[in-house]
């Protein structure tokens, strides 16, 4: 297993991108964090120079930010890669993933896991974002099948699930489920909205 420490990486001189090379999805360094361009709009006041109004997603914090650049300014590229990896197991301190082509394993800490840890099912494939070869975030599949660990007993006769009740999944995440769902049931969950999709 390979645990990578930031400080041991010899940093190559990264390329720079000028505003006229900006496009959606381009990964750049902004105030020390890797960011991804969400949108890039050129604004030119009637009597002024051109500016680029750019929306970024900070890949570390997940926050969206907006910045405006003089056209022609440039930013350092961020060494960011998105790789599909299989979730193997949790060893108590880290979540372990494997890249299926190289069999290279990555131990990912709770910070980078963030909300993803509530949707992890062993053997499922997730998208792992690496910055300077360090995992910084994990995106689980859009739908995962989880088991209900705890919920109040369902009401007899309720089949359509008009209301709903909270249920704790085997991964710890809490979602609203229809009243007819009981402990031990397997349910399909949409990881983007944290919503119940169907019975599995």
């Amino acid at each position: 297993m390979q645990l990578i420490n930031f400080t041991h990486i010899t940093k190559e001189k990264m390329a720079h991108y000028s505003t006229n090379q900006f496009k959606n999805g381009l990964k750049l360094m902004l105030d020390g964090n890797p960011c991804s361009i969400l949108s890039n709009e050129i604004v030119k006041p009637g009597k002024g120079q051109a500016f680029n109004r750019v929306r970024f997603r900070d890949l570390i914090t997940g926050k969206t930010l907006e910045k405006t650049f003089k056209s022609g300014e440039s930013l350092e590229a961020a060494d960011v890669m998105e790789l599909e990896m299989q979730y193997l197991y949790n060893d108590g301190s880290a979540w372990n993933f494997m890249q299926p082509q190289s069999f290279e394993q990555y131990a990912i800490d709770a910070n980078a896991m963030a909300d993803a840890k509530g949707y992890l099912v062993e053997q499922d494939f997730c998208v792992v974002t690496l910055w300077n070869n360090n995992p910084i975030s994990v995106t689980p599949p859009n739908h995962v099948v989880l088991e209900v660990a705890e919920t109040d007993p369902g009401l007899k006769g309720d089949t359509a699930g008009t209301g709903g009740k909270p249920a704790t999944m085997n991964t710890g995440v809490i979602i609203q489920v229809p009243l007819f769902i009981s402990i031990g049931d397997r349910v399909k969950v949409d990881t983007r909205t944290n919503e119940y999709a169907s019975r599995a």
Binding site: I42, G46, F51
Partner: protein, 284 residues
């Protein structure tokens, strides 16, 4: 097809509006002997009969020659050309409606634009805010009384570039970053009374440039001035732009001697505006 028909209908209505107001339609030469001196508007160079000519970037100067020679209220709808434009709202070729009203100040001209927009079906209530007001309201900046260094400090707190040679360029960056996104919530707003540093070809009165811009849904649609009158005032403004060009390492341009020569007589007091037709069509 529908958009072409819509465009033709709008242009027809504009012509009718000016006919009822006795504003004369004119057509002025697109080929110019001199490029525009504006720092950030680049003229397109063309070779005609072996000579360098420049396509007009707006009919403004040619129409002002007519005004200086005694022609009254005039308008023109024509294609204009600009080099080095890019982006979803900036094109190398687009259509301008440019018109001048004698005896109007900028407020009368704003009223007149509202009348025109009503005929085109735009019936939003219009707001009028000064350049200083929008900066107070949306950014808590006293823009008219903040000097270049203090403004750079403000830009730094917003993590914006401070690498500017001229205060007006930094003012515009702050406007684009802090103000314009807020204007998107307003259906129709005139911003007027610009800092002197952004006077362009507008008269300065009460320490501000008598200039306005019209924003519809946050998109800049029109730019109007209470026009400078004397040839020497124009010459000073052109020369300032020419030296800014030099300082910024942009393509050098020569003073438009044709224009200055035609301004032996000053313009009558008048206000004029340029309206981007494609931008207008996209917002109404």
């Amino acid at each position: 097809m529908q958009s072409l028909k819509n465009r033709a209908a709008i242009i027809n209505k504009i012509r009718k509006f000016f006919a009822t107001q006795n504003v004369l339609e004119v057509q002025t030469p697109m080929l110019q002997n001199y490029p525009l001196s504006d720092v950030y508007i680049d003229s397109v160079l063309v070779k005609i009969n072996g000579k360098n000519k420049f396509l007009h970037t707006s009919p403004e100067l040619e129409m002002k020659k007519l005004l200086a020679n005694g022609l009254g209220d005039i308008y023109q709808i024509c294609p204009v050309f600009r080099d080095n434009e890019q982006g979803s709202n900036n094109f190398n070729e687009f259509t301008l409606l440019e018109y001048y009203r004698l005896g109007f100040d900028i407020f009368q001209l704003m009223d007149n634009i509202i009348e025109l927009l009503k005929i085109l079906g735009v019936k939003h209530k219009n707001l009028r805010l000064t350049y200083a007001q929008v900066f107070f309201e949306y950014a808590d900046i006293d823009i008219l009384n903040t000097d270049f260094n203090a403004l750079k400090k403000i830009a730094k707190t917003h993590k914006l570039s401070t690498d500017f040679e001229h205060i007006e360029d930094l003012q515009m960056l702050l406007f684009v970053h802090l103000i314009e996104p807020k204007l998107a919530r307003l259906p129709l707003v005139f911003i007027y009374a610009f800092p002197q540093s952004q006077s362009a070809l507008a008269r300065i009165e009460a320490a501000v440039a008598q200039r306005f811009e019209l924003y519809i849904n946050g998109v800049e649609i029109a730019n109007g001035y209470d026009e400078l009158r004397r040839g020497n005032s124009y010459q000073q403004r052109f020369e300032a732009e020419i030296s800014k060009r030099k300082k910024l390492g942009k393509t050098p341009v020569n003073l438009d001697a044709d224009f200055i020569e035609n301004l032996q007589n000053p313009l009558p007091q008048c206000s004029g505006v340029a309206i981007g037709i494609e931008r207008l069509l996209s917002q109404i």
